[in-house]
Symmetry: C3
Subunit: 159 residues, 3 copies
């Protein structure tokens, strides 16, 4: 029997949804499934490296860069963010209850061999460059690659 | 041929999205498919019983308890909630047009044998106890059970 | 081997999510896959024709009609809408970078033979009539048709 496969589009850049995506992704990888995570639109925020400055961006690209959260450590909850209070409370609780944080889950995903893809078209629209994203990505790809992988997966999700 | 199967993650606790999830779930069950609904994060609000008080909760767990909607009857629309006006209007219209309400759909789901699962990790993070959830759940389970069921399903959704 | 198939529920009426849905849908159709897009709840906004007036609507149906965006050209981003500024900025950038707009993607979808379905129950609840929707739809259908198509698809998404 062929290896089972999970394909997840991470469209949302919200902390709670990204946690769900990585808990499913790492859980599947840990149980021997092949996992593809395809980050697009706001989901690209998760893959941003901190403190990288890229020259030659247009005014609008700089604006997008300023407005998008800067990496997995800076995302907000989709609900109850409450100027950061709710989000911090959630992070505290997760720490106390020994649930892995989002940056930790990303590391685990890499170690388990989860395929992390960044969406080429969204990077182009938002003016994000490859060097602004974290290391260890499988590639910067388009919808064709997504479709090819997803059509082999038993579980396909849009988060 | 094996029985067809649908696997739905209910992540959102919004009325409109939960209605969609249950309309798909009950529709599938009514046509003979096996249906798994896995409630996680805000989606757990749907499964909350009214008026249950649990002792021994931490301050933060009490806060979460207060902020999360108390059951299927108290969810808000994702859009046009308008301090409750839009949500009430939607409920009125559905009633008038004889579309089942969310509490009714949950009852139908149970009668049709839909497998309702609560996510163990989210319950832990939010401090929700089993006795705060409605009766008739198939179980409180983790991501491994979700993956096992979903990998056998033809239709997998994240709502 | 049977033709591969993609099934997308478009629940959201937000510009960014609808763009994602159509980029996946047209991409799949262009590579020879059969594609079903099922528009429900707020997603029906995408299919609205401009400037159609229908008589005999109830007060609440008129309210819904006024509040729902009037077609693919009038959707807002799920984030950074900023009273229209962010949405317009996004549209400008997409145009400059030669990414197809949502109305263009809908045309491409039709030309590629993507099956566009409107959800009967949502139309009923929102009081939308067939003549208010764009031409070229495959049909106005219920959840049974959705399930029948989706159970044959390799990729199933809820957007």
């Amino acid at each position: 029997m062929a290896q089972e496969r999970v394909s997840i589009i991470v469209f949302s850049g919200e902390l709670d949804k990204c946690l769900a995506a990585f808990i499913i992704g790492t859980g599947a990888a840990a149980s021997g499934m092949e996992v593809d995570m395809f980050f697009t639109f706001w989901g690209l925020s998760v893959l941003r490296k901190k403190g990288v400055k890229v020259k030659g961006k247009s005014f609008i690209e700089k604006m997008f860069g300023m407005m998008l959260p800067k990496g997995a450590d800076n995302l907000a909850l989709s609900k109850m963010h409450m100027l950061g209070m709710g989000t911090n409370m959630m992070k505290e609780v997760m720490k106390k209850k020994k649930v892995a944080s989002l940056p930790e889950l990303i590391e685990i995903a890499k170690q388990l061999g989860v395929n992390l893809y960044a969406c080429e078209m969204s990077m182009n629209v938002l003016g994000l460059k490859r060097e602004e994203l974290i290391d260890g990505l499988k590639g910067v790809v388009g919808v064709a690659t997504y479709l090819e992988n997803a059509s082999k997966a038993q579980i396909t999700l849009f988060i």
